[in-house]
């Protein structure tokens, strides 16, 4: 019977399978996607309301505000990344599947990014315009947010995997992830604000891209290890 060992589907089909499933789930429950987006838009709107409509001031705080709002929105949606899988037993099935867990963890993070980070990148120009940011900065903002939200999804998936089943909510996850996410915030926000004064931005963009690559290669391993530990 050893020679009739079942064939395992390819890694790619496992990866695509989980990304497709999570996007389909988001499609069936649009609230999960829309709530962080609204949160992002509202937090960004709070600052002009609190600080007054002076357009110079808005232009100078805009990059920082948008980046902090994006960071918080990502954290908000990350909290539930593995919770429903944990509660309905899907996580056991993932851990017991013959697919390497690292690939599935990568799939979860990418799926999360496609339904939370990518829409945020798409609507960020609207928010940037409302902050009177110059045109070149809006482009830079979208590019930095592209790499930044992807890094946050990957980093955050580690935290979500560590806290799954702990019922301590978003506070613990934020405590774990925010210090780790600092480089992304620093480079993202500073690069955008440099671009408002026509300074060179390539260094920051390269850094974010490099950080994103590092996260793509290392984070899934940490997430997989954390999932096995949390689900014991």
């Amino acid at each position: 019977m050893t020679d009739t060992r079942p064939l395992v589907p390819s890694l790619w089909s496992g990866f695509v399978g989980i990304v497709r499933r999570d996007i389909l789930l988001a499609w069936k429950r649009p609230g999960d996607v829309l709530n962080p987006l609204f949160f992002f838009a509202m937090v960004s709107a709070l600052f002009p309301l609190a600080l007054g409509p002076s357009s110079e001031q808005l232009g100078s705080i805009g990059p920082g505000v948008i980046w902090v709002a994006a960071l918080l929105a990502a954290l908000l949606s990350l909290n539930s990344l593995f919770v429903s899988d944990f509660e309905d037993g899907s996580l056991d099935q993932l851990l017991l599947s013959p697919q390497p867990l690292t690939v599935l963890a990568l799939g979860k993070a990418i799926g999360h990014w496609m339904v939370s980070g990518l829409p945020l990148v798409v609507i960020s120009p609207l928010v940037a315009i409302s902050f009177h940011m110059p045109d070149q900065s809006i482009k830079v903002m979208a590019v930095t947010l592209f790499f930044g939200t992807l890094s946050l999804s990957l980093l955050g998936s580690i935290g979500a995997a560590l806290t799954v089943g702990l019922h301590r909510g978003t506070a613990l996850l934020s405590l774990l992830i925010l210090p780790l996410a600092m480089p992304v915030l620093i480079f993202g926000a500073r690069t955008v604000s440099l671009s408002t004064s026509d300074d060179a931005v390539s260094a920051g963009v390269y850094f974010l891209a490099a950080y994103c690559m590092l996260a793509l290669t290392l984070a899934p391993f940490a997430t997989a290890a954390a999932l096995r530990i949390s689900n014991e």
Partner: protein, 204 residues
């Protein structure tokens, strides 16, 4: 003598409490291992330990003559898992769930409709799982076992939420699996009516 799957000197603690100590089991193709014991005696933990979901305090598991540790990836290709929680998505319908299953496990694509018909699920394929009854959801989990090509089935309390017809379905399906040369580990505190080679492990 080489067994398909065997455990030696297994010991597991939960907090201060020792669930079992120096536990032994052995399983061959075509055999069924029934894990008996009252609630909280560690049946589920034993199953999860064998599957590699949690670590035993001490002891080792052998699979086809080798130490299982380090071969989990290959072992999982041979494993089908059935637990309290169904492990499917409530918001997706049956076919969408099975399609995802297909991307993870070895899967018998040709017989999907036949299996669903046998389980009485063939008319429910378009409904999201949350609108199915608890018993129907258990049948959906059973469909996963039947469609999987894994030789080792691990089932935790397979009769929960099932009516009389459902129970005899489980019995029949298990007997068939054993007759085909598969093996199974079932944790339950209810009697099984199985035709085949049955072994038992009792946890107190």
């Amino acid at each position: 003598m080489n067994f398909l799957l065997s455990g030696h000197d297994l010991c597991l603690f939960r907090g201060d409490k020792c669930l079992f100590n120096s536990l032994e089991f052995a399983l061959n193709p075509g055999q069924l291992l029934i894990v008996e014991g009252s609630n909280g005696s560690g049946k589920t933990s034993l199953l999860r330990g064998i599957a590699g979901l949690l670590e035993f305090e001490q002891g080792e598991i052998h699979w086809e003559g080798n130490l299982l540790h380090g071969h989990y990836q290959a072992f999982r290709a041979d494993l089908a898992w059935f637990a309290h929680k169904v492990g499917f998505k409530d918001d997706l319908n049956l076919l969408e769930n099975l399609r995802f299953e297909q991307s993870l496990h070895s899967f018998d694509e040709g017989s999907v409709m036949a299996v669903l018909a046998r389980l009485g699920l063939d008319l429910l394929t378009e409904l999201p799982l949350r609108s199915l009854s608890a018993g129907q959801q258990r049948r959906v989990a059973l469909a996963r076992m039947l469609l999987s090509k894994g030789w080792v089935w691990m089932m935790d309390e397979p009769f929960t939420n099932l009516d009389g017809a459902g129970r005899s379905l489980v019995d029949a399906v298990l007997s068939e699996h054993l007759a085909n040369g598969g093996s199974a580990i079932v944790a339950t505190h209810q009697p099984l009516e199985i035709v085949g080679d049955v072994k038992r492990v009792s946890l107190s």
